[in-house]
Symmetry: C2
Subunit: 214 residues, 2 copies
Amino acid sequence: MKVEKISDFTVYRLSIYLRCLDHLAVTGVTTTSSKALAHQFQLNSAQIRKDLTSFGDFGIRGVGYKVDELRNRLRKILGLYNVHRVGIIGAGHLGMALADYHGFPSNPFQVVALFDRDPSRVGGKSPQGIPIFTLNELKSVVAREDIAIGVLCVPAEEAQEMAALVIDAGIQAILNFAPVRLNIESGVKVKTMDLSMSFESLSYFLARRQPEVS
Amino acid sequence: MKVEKISDFTVYRLSIYLRCLDHLAVTGVTTTSSKALAHQFQLNSAQIRKDLTSFGDFGIRGVGYKVDELRNRLRKILGLYNVHRVGIIGAGHLGMALADYHGFPSNPFQVVALFDRDPSRVGGKSPQGIPIFTLNELKSVVAREDIAIGVLCVPAEEAQEMAALVIDAGIQAILNFAPVRLNIESGVKVKTMDLSMSFESLSYFLARRQPEVS
């Protein structure tokens, strides 16, 4: 496995494939193929084969993939059989929303703590009971609660400083919701979420429905 | 242009390319190529050429792409030169967070209204001043404010009902943050956001760093 060469985009596609397979499983489909997946979910069959082959050969020539087997393999590759404990920095609206977000079934990400610099928030809880700690407690809570993923829900101008605190507390995987690119030392994984990207497929759709502005 | 055949994944890739080009422009790069883009941002050069060709031929053989020109074309294709007015259904933590989220610069999505069924929230505002209306006012506010995109920030069990209200109010593009697949009539565009997908590239990274569990 040349795992070092696997990009974020490949991992994103594996997540997509897993959701397609989940959908097939729910609807009772037990075998599929790269062609069938591509056709049903508007994917690229050559890309599917290439992505899966880079993790070993799952398919049977002429038969395709067993849905359950491929789901299990993808869940294992994506690390979804482990529970990942999550700490959120910033207990504003976004932090609180993510703390209580359970997502689709079998979500293996478990938020166990919120952190905030605002003393009026510290000691409180999210509506579903996730406790809010001070930033001073970050290091000890991360160790005690075995937190592996830090989520930054802070303003753009605070994100770099908070990332440094999170890394200093021993966390090596960061999900950043602040609209700013972070400079991070190697060995730490950062994913910056740009929520406006989710709007762009809608604006594409809307642009196609309106008279072209040229 | 065979625009009907362009999938959400293609549009997603166009959004990615645009962000790569934005990055190049900021760093003073004026020309690039599918190969250079693929190398710097871990993309697939053949895919880039295929995606761009489906919208017309932007490149110059042997020279590549002019960064500014390609950015403008992508922004036009993605409908980003129009301002898109947005209404958010559900003024809980997630709705409030999105209402005040400005994103990266030149975000053309403008939240103008929140809606909620909880009377204690109605009449209030987000921290940055976006007003909260009742669901009864949905139709009139959508018309008056020229809202084109509806964002669902409601519990999973309410999402289908809220989608129907939004469509009834004349909105044809929905961004759904509730973890449930919606059944929607054709002609309306729905994008369901699964926030746990953003965590999966991190769990992939973490799984690679730990001893394999087989």
